[in-house]
Structure formats: C-alpha cells, structure tokens
C-alpha cells in the first residue's frame, strides 16, 4: 500500500486536530460557550485566550462549538451526497442507455446553478436554518460527485473482468456491489473529500449571508458574520474563525489532492 505524501499527511493531521478540538469543546473542556464571563470585546489574553465577543462571551468555546457544528453539518450532508451520488452514478455508469441519459439530465440541471445561488434558492424555499444549509450542501455536491462516479463506473463497466462476470451469469445487484462499487471506491473517497470542503464553504457562505445556521447556534460562518459587525474594534472575532475555516478547507483539499495523486499517478515529461 502506497502511503500519502507528507503534505497530505499534514492535512490529515490538521483535520484530526480540528475534530479533536470540536470534541473537546463539546465536552466543555474550554468552558461554556454561552457563559458571559467578562468585559465585552476584550482582546485575546490570559483570561479569554481568543478574546470575548460583543456580549462578553469567551470566543474560544464558541469557536470550538462552531467547528463542531460546521464539521458535523457538512459531514452529514456529504454522507447523504455520497450515498445518493454513488447509487445514481454506479447505476447510470454501469447500465448506460436511458437510465444514464436521465441521470445525466438531472445532474445537468442541478449543475447549472452556481453553488451559492442554489444554496440561496434552497434557503428561500426551506427558510434559513440548519436544514437549509444541509439541503444546500447536498444539492450543490450531488452533481459534482455523481458526474465523476458515473464516469468512473462507466470505465469500470467496459473492463474485461466485468464482461467475463456477465458471461459467468453474475446478476446486476451482485455486479454493482461486488465489482463496480469496490472499483469506484477510490473516486468516491477523493470526491467525497472534495465535497466536504465544498460543503464547509457552502455552509460558511450561506450562514455568512444570514441564510444558513441561525444565531445563537454557532457555526464558523455565523461567527464570521457576527464578528464582521465589530471588525474594526475587535478583528480577532473574524480572524480566529476565519483562519480555522481556511485551515479546515485547505487541509481537506490537500488531503484530497494526495488521495487523487495516489489513485491516478501521472507522469511528467520534460520539454528539454
């Protein structure tokens, strides 16, 4: 088994640290996120490591809560996407014909919406809140992931081992589960990773616009939106969640790149 390169491993470690932080926050190790414990808009210092917000709440526990909320929400949404996209993509790619055509059409329609625009439509219909954010992530990531899983499944379907399994009388469900699914697993892993970073981005953007997660619930997007109001007086309120958000997306992207390079190594050529 080839291993990930060091940059991707850094990404993985970074991600695990964020998850650990979220879990720590959840158990209240950094204090109560709702507790008002001092001056308002106090800069970072010994009492509150990341300073306090406009209500005098310490930022650190709120940040940890936000990380947890964002990661959990995005992961759940991507899980839904992964299941739906894998099912659609594998069936369309393997069966081909009219099914393929129908799935492609559906995906095409969803794909035609710019991601934030689609998220806004969802928020308009469902009403701002956590369900809207989740539904938006699912709808934004489904076309991206279904396309690639479908393409991978179509490639697998043309392989010799599939033909010989058909000749041996292997039925469709067995074929999809035993042969096609394991062989598109790499694509699912890579695209799922990218979908997670898109999910975090969409949640952040939507919440930032006030259409996603609603305060007093915390999420990274909410923290950035709320902090933005006091930007000039208390920049730490934006910078801390902003850095964490960027770090999360970056480490997931780097991890995805590493996974992809491992699954599809490419050869470079010199022009001299």
């Amino acid at each position: 088994m080839k291993r990930l390169d060091w940059l991707s491993r850094c990404g993985l470690i970074c991600l695990m640290v964020l998850v650990a932080a979220a879990v720590a926050g959840w158990f209240g190790l950094a204090g109560d996120p709702a507790a008002i414990d001092g001056d308002r808009l106090r800069p970072p210092g010994a009492a509150a490591w990341l300073g306090t917000d406009d209500l005098g709440r310490s930022l650190l526990p709120r940040l940890l809560e936000g990380i947890g909320a964002t990661l959990l929400l995005s992961s759940l949404a991507v899980l839904v996407t992964a299941v739906v996209s894998t099912a659609l993509g594998i069936v369309a790619g393997y069966v081909g014909g009219a099914v393929n055509e129908a799935v492609l059409r559906l995906v095409e329609v969803l794909y035609a919406f710019p991601s934030i625009v689609l998220a806004i439509l969802v928020a308009a219909v469902v009403g701002p809140g956590r369900p809207a954010a989740m539904a938006a992530i699912v709808l934004v990531t489904i076309p991206l992931m279904t396309r690639l899983v479908r393409a991978a499944a179509a490639t697998v379907a043309s392989r010799d081992y599939i033909t010989s399994a058909v000749v041996s009388g292997v039925g469709m469900p067995t074929m999809l589960v035993r042969h096609v699914l394991p062989n598109v697993g790499g694509t699912i892993a890579v695209q799922g990773t990218y979908a997670l970073s898109i999910g975090i981005l969409v949640e952040g953007g939507l919440s930032f616009l006030g259409l996603g997660v609603q305060p007093p619930q915390a999420s990274l997007g909410v923290l950035i939106a709320q902090g933005g109001i006091y930007m000039v007086a208390a920049p730490w309120l934006v910078i801390a969640p902003g850095v964490v958000l960027v770090l999360a997306i970056l480490s997931i992207n780097v991890l995805g790149d590493g996974l992809r390079d491992r699954l599809e190594p490419r050869e470079a050529r010199s022009l001299t």
Binding site: S164, T174, H179
Partner: protein, 286 residues
C-alpha cells in the same frame, strides 16, 4: 485421457475432432448493424454481415482478422451479449435463451487485457470461484422453484475446486490468496483461464487472449489453451489478429474482413495455400 493431444504431439496429420451431430455453437447468417450519426440522419454501420459459423464439441475454431473486421462483435454475439440484428444464434442446438443467465456456467470467456482480466479488488481465489458460486446459486434457485432443494457444494469443496483448477493451469494453489496486481500478465491470463474452466463450460471464447502478452510468454499460454481444450473437450472460439497464434491452436480457421467471413477452412490449408486472396496476404505477412 486426451485423444486430442495425442494427435497434437508430433503427428503431421491435422487433428480432426469426432464430429458431433449438433454443434455446440452455431451462428446462422448473423448480422449486426450499429446505428450511427444524429437521429435525423441515422446511418447504419454493419459490423457483421451474414456470418455463419459452427463450433463442435472438442473443436477450436480460430477467427482471424484485422481490427475492425467484426471479430469481437462475433464474439459478443456468440456469447449472447449482443443480439444479432438478423440471423440466428444456437447454443447446443437451441436458440439463445431470452435471459442470458440461463447459460450461466455453460459458456465462458477469456479476454485480452491481462491487467483487466481479473477484478483488481478481489483475491484471485474468489475471482476463480465466482462463476462456480454463481452457477450453483442459480441451479439451487431453479431447483427450489421446481422441486425440493438439492445439495449445493460447501465452501470447502469450492476452495478445493479452485486449488485444483489453479494447479491445472500451472499455478500454485497459494496464488488464490493473492491480489491480481501481485501477478504477472501471463499468470493473470492463466488465472483467467482457470476461472473460465471451473464450471466445465461447453463453450469458451478466447478473445485476443494472448495478444497483450510478451512474446516469450505467449507460447506458454497457447500451449495451455491447447492442453486444456484437449482435456476438457469444450468447443472453443479463438479470436486473434495473429494468424500464427490462431493457426497454432485452431482446428479450423475462419478469416474475417469487413464483417464477412471470407474463408473457412481446415488449419492445414493455412499452412499451405489458402484460397482467398486476403488469407494468402495474411499468410505472407507472417
């Protein structure tokens, strides 16, 4: 044990299989036409034109032709993976069943690309066992719906069958525990042959089965094909662009060009003077 290989060893006379009343597989003026172009200007591209072939039990029919001659389409039609646009395919005297799975285990195929002939995510043993497992499951299901249950083989006996089959194709039984990427191209084609033969099929298609192998490995696999065919007595369709390889394993040879069979003759003829001009060209190019 094998009448056929006695013929093959050293005798200059062409091995003639005992003629059977009904061929294992028969194509009767089968044609395949692919639609092409936009819906409003649909063109029809013929891939097979009135192809008539017969393969008897214990006989290898070689099909030779360039790329685009329709030989792979012929294979797909013979395997029941594609219905001919016109014409008839008969397997053991009866026309192809509507549901292909009714033939499970009685017909197998060995394909070209060694790196894709086996599912890369499956251990070799499971790949080899798969056709047997499927065939037994289907047989059990059929038995359940009609009469009572029949005793299927236990997993132990399947493991044994796999080991026997692997040894038959010249591999160690321990290969079953490995993944395809741990094997060489020649070994993978051996496994593919073991997988094809584990259900004792009546008919096997070899579609360019040695073409992607190294020259020095090709001969191993060709000899293996000759040996297992002689031992198991299945009817075989051996398809290749390489007349040398086809001539070596086949009893009769059909030459395809532009979707048509231009000549069918005993292998002997293809060592001397084939009738059709195109066949002669192929012979000269060797």
């Amino acid at each position: 044990m094998n009448q056929m290989s006695i013929h093959r060893d050293g005798s200059v006379e062409p091995p003639t299989p005992t003629p059977t009343p009904t061929p294992v597989l028969e194509l009767d003026r089968a044609s395949v036409v692919f639609p092409s172009g936009p819906p409003w200007r649909r063109r029809r591209v013929p891939a097979m034109r009135e192809v008539t072939l017969q393969v008897s039990a214990g006989e290898t029919l070689g099909v030779v032709g360039e790329s685009g001659s329709g030989k792979t389409t012929t294979a797909m039609v013979a395997l029941g993976l594609r219905r001919p646009t016109t014409g008839v395919v008969r397997f053991e005297g009866a026309s192809m069943p509507r549901r292909r799975r009714a033939l499970a285990g009685r017909m197998q195929v060995v394909l070209q690309h060694p790196q894709w002939s086996l599912d890369p995510r499956m251990r070799v043993g499971r790949s080899v066992a798969e056709p047997l497992v499927v065939a037994e499951r289907l047989a059990r299901r059929a038995a359940n719906t009609t009469s009572g249950a029949i005793n299927g083989s236990s997993s132990g006996s399947i493991t044994d069958a796999v080991a026997v089959m692997l040894e038959k194709v010249g591999l160690d039984a321990s290969v079953a525990k490995r993944h395809p990427h741990e094997l060489s191209g020649g070994q993978r084609q051996r496994v593919a042959i073991a997988r094809a033969l584990i259900t004792r099929p009546r008919f096997v298609v070899f579609d360019e089965a040695v073409s992607a192998l190294d020259v020095s490995v090709q001969a191993q696999i060709l000899n293996l094909v000759v040996d297992v065919q002689a031992e198991y007595g299945f009817g075989a369709l051996f398809i290749s662009h390489d007349l040398g390889a086809v001539r070596y394993v086949a009893h009769r040879i059909a030459v395809m060009r532009h979707g048509c069979v231009v000549e069918t003759a005993d292998t002997e003829t293809f060592y001397r003077t084939p009738e059709h001009e195109y066949s002669r060209q192929l012979l000269e190019a060797l």
